[in-house]
């Protein structure tokens, strides 16, 4: 038999196709009404509800004596929730669906590398998470008059916590996508995980009001740390007093998220397949 040597594919193709995938994925994302609502707009909806429901309440005062409104108090929590939803929830459900509806099988038959596929997915998550955070911050500042930090260091903290959080959640989402056995069960498997995590991590309930043992459990996962990091940016310095250890622990965020990121990468490397062979 004659062996025909295939022409080599051009270099840089993996990245180029990854970016092309990202554009394709982002367009698909915004065309799906349910993901736009439950993933993209959900934190904004929750922020609005909290702001309106607790409009008469005070969530402590700034050192200058100004009251901290519900909107200001919940903005960091909703930013953290957005990172979790856009990263973990969206990614895991999306991939689980694509596994079961044949999208991955089709892609597996094309000269698209898995790396390009993931660049596309992570690109989609990054762009939607950034748009979501921007929307939350703009609405909070304009509609609910939340004072935003003016110090550049605060925004630097925001940037790295946000990017580390999105990346970690996205990678963990890929790892979790193997958990549901079918696309239909994907939401039923993933949403409870995401919901429980939000409740114990101080997203809907003030973290300082949870019993210490529950805080300790929550602090094993990245979400509580992301919310902690966001609070350090958007709440007055004096609020550090009610945190675990009585201070903002930015190193802790980097360590816990970093460990989960590595775990997620290993799980992804070991478990992700285009298709379940011989399933």
């Amino acid at each position: 038999m004659t062996t025909v040597t295939a022409p080599a594919l051009p270099a840089g193709r993996t990245i180029r196709l990854g970016l092309s995938r990202a554009g394709y994925e982002i367009r698909s994302y915004f065309r799906q009404g349910d993901t736009v609502f439950f993933t993209f707009l959900f934190p904004l909806l929750m922020l609005t509800i909290f702001s309106v429901a607790f409009s008469e309440s005070e969530f402590g005062r700034t050192p200058d004596g100004d009251p901290v409104t519900a909107a200001q108090y919940y903005l960091p929590a909703m930013l953290a929730a957005g990172v979790l939803l856009s990263g973990l929830q969206n990614m895991s459900i999306d991939i689980a669906m694509e596994k079961s509806d044949g999208t991955l099988k089709r892609l597996a038959g094309t000269p698209l590398s898995v790396v390009s596929y993931f660049i596309g997915k992570i690109g989609q998550v990054l762009v939607t998470a950034i748009a979501q955070a921007a929307l939350l911050i703009v609405v909070a500042a304009t509609a609910f008059e939340v004072p935003l930090p003016t110090e550049p260091e605060k925004w630097m903290t925001f940037a790295w916590v946000f990017l580390l959080g999105v990346t970690t959640c996205a990678i963990l989402g890929i790892g979790l996508s193997g958990l549901p056995r079918s696309g239909k069960s994907a939401t039923a498997v993933i949403i409870p995980i995401v919901l429980v995590l939000q409740f114990i991590s101080g997203i809907y309930i003030q973290f300082s009001m949870l019993p210490e043992w529950l805080q300790n459990i929550a602090n094993l996962f990245p979400l509580a740390w992301l919310a902690h990091g966001m609070r350090s940016v958007f709440l007055p310095e004096s609020y550090a007093a009610v945190e675990v250890g009585g201070e903002w622990n930015l190193t802790g965020i980097a360590i816990v998220c970093g460990i989960w990121l590595v775990v997620g990468l290993i799980v992804t490397r070991l478990t992700f397949r285009w298709i379940r062979k011989d399933g």
Partner: protein
């Protein structure tokens, strides 16, 4: 004449949890040829085609597709294949043109997007989201995605399921065109007229084994093609197989006009059913002996 094989399959076996779905299959597909793999559901057709596509690992035997073992087929290998899977249920929020343009970008030397859309007859639907298309139209998108990369070897797994008769004829024209351009094609289908129309050669799989292989008009051997003369005599149905039906008919009509006289040349479907039926009967017999 140089004959180069794009597919070589030798002693291919595949077991699932101890059950042998494919039990020792051999066949070749020559470059430029259209080869049809026929057989009833569960016979091992899809398992075989998915092993060739690299979707499944074989249990035994050797397989070469475009000179590469599909187990180790990398991206440059995939760039030379076109795969139309049996059926897909993608949600499809992209339009037909967006989807084709995106997939064209994955290949080093793709076909022109609008030409492919026209070739599958979806010009009117180019701007429609795939999720909003009918089943037959979605299937045409599948076919379009299979050929957009200008494949050397095209796998078509039951491509015309859900097509109306006119769409099937258009599809046949498209496949003849691709074949004319030199594309090698492996087709599985339940429509034997489709295989007869398109394939140069065919193999029939039943019970995990290849029970017949050959040129479509020679399949089953010369004996299977011997015409049958059938008529009614004294109220009883009579039939006789003969290589000289004209002579037989003349002999019958010599004694008067017979009732319901017909000369039947076995179609591919008749031959297929006979071959598959024999296997089913044989395996039923084996099962019976075992019990």
């Amino acid at each position: 004449m140089t004959t180069e094989n794009v597919v070589e399959v030798r002693a291919l076996t595949k077991s699932y949890k101890g059950v042998e779905a494919v039990r020792g299959i051999d066949f070749d597909i020559r470059r430029g040829e259209t080869f049809a793999l026929l057989g009833p559901n569960g016979a091992g057709k899809s398992t075989t085609i998915e092993i060739l596509e690299g979707y499944r690992d074989r249990t035994g035997g050797t397989v070469s597709v475009l000179g590469v073992d599909p187990k180790h087929g990398g991206l440059p290998w995939k760039a030379r294949l076109g795969i139309v899977l049996q059926s897909t249920g993608e949600s499809g929020s992209a339009t037909v043109r967006e989807q084709l343009r995106h997939f064209a970008g994955l290949y080093p030397n793709p076909r022109d997007v609008d030409e492919v859309i026209a070739a599958v007859g979806l010009e009117q639907k180019a701007g429609t989201r795939i999720g909003k298309l009918s089943g037959g139209q979605k299937r045409r998108v599948d076919v379009a995605l299979g050929i957009i990369g200008r494949p050397e070897l095209l796998f078509l797994d039951e491509p015309t399921t859900g097509f109306d008769p006119e769409a099937r004829r258009q599809f046949w024209e498209l496949i003849r065109g691709l074949s004319g351009e030199g594309t090698s094609i492996l087709l599985t289908t339940h429509y034997l007229d489709e295989a007869a129309q398109l394939a140069d050669r065919a193999g029939i799989i039943a019970g995990g084994e290849l029970v017949a292989i050959g040129a479509v008009d020679e399949l089953g051997g010369a004996d299977a093609r011997i015409p049958v003369v059938r008529w009614v005599e004294d109220g009883a149905l009579r039939q006789e197989r003969t290589t000289e039906p004209g002579r037989l008919v003349a002999a019958i009509t010599a004694s008067g006009e017979p009732e319901r006289l017909e000369v039947i040349r076995p179609s591919l479907e008749d031959i297929y059913l006979e071959l598959v039926g024999e296997t089913a009967a044989a395996s039923a017999l084996t099962e019976g002996t075992r019990a």
